[in-house]
Amino acid sequence: MSSSPIIRLEGLEKTYDLGAIKVRALRGVSLDIQAGSYVAIMGPSGSGKSTMLNMLGCLDRPSGGAYYLGGEDVSKMDDDELSAVRGKRLGFIFQSYNLIDQLTVIENIHVPLFYQGRDINECYDHCVNLAKLVGLGDRLHHRPKELSGGQQQRVAIARSLVNDPLMILADEPTGNLDSATGTEILNLLDKLNAEGKTIVLVTHGEEVAERAHRVLHMKDGVIDHEIHQRTLQHVVEELEHDDTAEAPAP
């Protein structure tokens, strides 16, 4: 894994000003995320998980602190630049899928590229391949209403991949799905991570978090504690490493 983080947060703050009261949703979060890592964010409801993910996704501006995405300071960007960052470097997966009703599966997958000025005919094959990757190669011209929840979420995953993003952000992607379908979706995310995509995911479920390398526990707008997990893959990699390069410790 490379040493330069693709995300660096320095004392990130977010305060919602509701007139009479001010809600401090994030109270100074500092964090590095390495490229290729799989990070889960957990914590009680209202602890600031979604707020944090929205910051990472450039959907909202922080009230204080700094956010570097791939070395660039996001907090200094204007609205069009933020749109460009979202469109080119990020992929989103939402709890409620958020597909566009009037578009077909293939058109939904194409939307991020449309806003990059790329015609659907020119990147049709790419979109079809992604639909196949998520197992919907035979549903290209269906509309969201004609698909099950799990299928819709898979369309959303294909859509999040279409612009080959630096990072995929998912806010409770399995929250609306039954456990079997949820597992399928998580397997798909595992596969993407194994292929090198950075994933940041908000979840309530322990079994979901178990798949991540790092689990950040949030509480009252700060990261309360963090757990580094060793996935099976890591263990194997490290064992190989040990065999070839290192002598046993004394």
Partner: protein, 430 residues
């Protein structure tokens, strides 16, 4: 994203979104449809009406001043004439003579005596207008001589019983034979047919519009020398109207004065008026100046256009407000979609474009249907109401253009509102 294919895609997308709510989109378009349709229809009817009026006036001749005998009100008639029921009024031969000799700028003075009577040939009887007049009639009123000749000075001086008839009259009297050199009877006198004419203006009219007119008695004219009309019919003319006889002593029914040019008209009118006032004890004449009528018609048309413009503006305003209302509802309804698009990389201006394109598609669609219906309505009107309608290209372009403009003007606010939503607020919208 301002290149052509992208706009096309956006249009396609807009149509897709509109088709999602077919009924709603259709109802929204209704306002624009009615607006555009009424503008085109009204313009077409107005244009046709003023064209007809102008044609009618031009037929009178824009260089001419027309003086007509009119019957004064009843009480005067009884008083002036000792004999019962003979009304005595109108222009005289000496009026015509005075105008001929004294009026400055007059090129021709054309007296006419117009008698309603039947023209007979064998067993055919056709009610007609017998017009006793001078040879210059043909040139002044623009008659086309189809066959033979028109009246000559010779006919006039010799009081020859010759006549010229309109083609339509000839067709009725002589369905089976050549009218030239045949003799027709009016009253107790016979007149030899020496020529056939056609009124120019009835040729000018488009075939479709003039068809119902061509058989009317108006075109059944028989022209004879004025001297004949004077001597053969006598001073007292009988007129059969609704079963009762009416007798009138009228020398001339009309005098048409042709001026050298239009500039000579205005100074001549008061002269004529003064002359007539001096010799007529009662107002038994009227002076018609076609040029003035033409100007009045143009003025009327201008007023009509202003009224029409206001109606059009109001109806399109109403249509536009309807569109804005629906688009605001649509924006609210699709807030989440807007959020999703923003999350996926849409800039504010992409969202503006998207919603603006939708309103413009809506209003131009309405405009297009409006143009189609608007073209149809005048056709139906002219078919059933026997009115002339003229659909000008500029009225179509105007109505269509305004409908598009309405879409843009009333689409901007909802579109901007959609674009100014913060992405995260939009995404959280239920």
């Amino acid at each position: 994203m301002i290149n052509a294919p992208a706009i096309l895609l956006t249009v396609q997308l807009g149509i897709k979104s509109l088709l999602l709510h077919k009924l709603r989109s259709g109802l929204t378009m209704l306002g624009i449809i009615f607006g555009v349709c009424s503008v085109i229809a009204m313009l077409a009817i107005g244009e046709g009406g003023s064209y007809e009026a102008q044609q009618a006036i031009k037929k009178l001749g824009s260089n001419n001043i027309i003086i007509r005998s009119i019957k004064p009100s009843e009480s005067n008639v009884v008083g002036s004439s000792g004999r019962s029921r003979i009304s005595d009024y109108g222009l005289t031969y000496s009026d015509a003579g005075r105008m001929q000799t004294t009026l400055v700028g007059a090129q021709h003075v054309l007296p006419m005596r117009i008698i309603r009577d039947s023209v007979r040939f064998n067993r055919f009887v056709v009610p007609s207008q017998i017009i006793g007049t001078h040879p210059s009639y043909a040139q002044i009123t623009g008659l086309d001589i189809v066959r033979g000749r028109f009246l000559t000075q010779n006919d006039e001086t010799h009081i020859d019983n010759v006549c010229i008839m309109t083609v339509s009259l000839a067709n009725q009297l002589f369905p089976f034979q050549d009218p030239l050199d045949e003799e027709v009877r009016v009253g107790m006198d016979y007149y030899r047919v020496v020529g056939l004419v056609r009124e120019k203006s009835s040729m000018d009219k488009r075939p479709g519009a003039s068809a119902p007119d061509s058989g009317k008695a108006l075109d059944n004219n028989l022209y004879i020398p004025l001297s004949c009309a004077r001597s053969r019919f006598g001073e007292i003319l009988f007129r059969r109207s609704a079963g009762s006889f009416e007798a009138e002593r009228v020398q001339l029914h009309q005098i048409t004065v042709q001026m050298i040019d239009t500039d000579a008209i205005e100074p001549a009118v008061p002269d004529i008026e003064a002359m007539l006032r001096h010799f007529h004890t009662k107002k038994d004449y009227e002076i018609i100046v076609p040029l003035q009528l033409l100007r009045q018609a143009e003025q009327t048309k201008r007023i009509f256009n202003v009224v029409l413009g206001s109606i059009a503006a109001i109806s399109l305003l109403v249509g536009g407000i309807g569109i804005m209302n629906i688009m605001l509802a649509t924006v609210t309804e699709r807030t989440r979609e807007i959020g999703v698009r923003r999350a996926l990389g849409a800039r504010k201006k992409d969202i503006i474009t998207q919603f603006l394109v939708e309103t413009v598609v809506l209003s131009l669609g309405g405009g297009l249907i409006g143009v189609a219906v608007g073209v149809l309505v005048p056709m139906i009107v002219s078919y059933f109401a026997d009115m002339k309608t003229i659909i000008t290209f500029s009225s179509l372009a105007l109505a269509f253009g305004i409908s598009g403009l309405t879409g843009i003007i009333f689409g901007i606010y909802p579109a901007r509102r959609a674009a100014n939503l913060s992405p995260i607020e939009a995404l959280r919208h239920e």
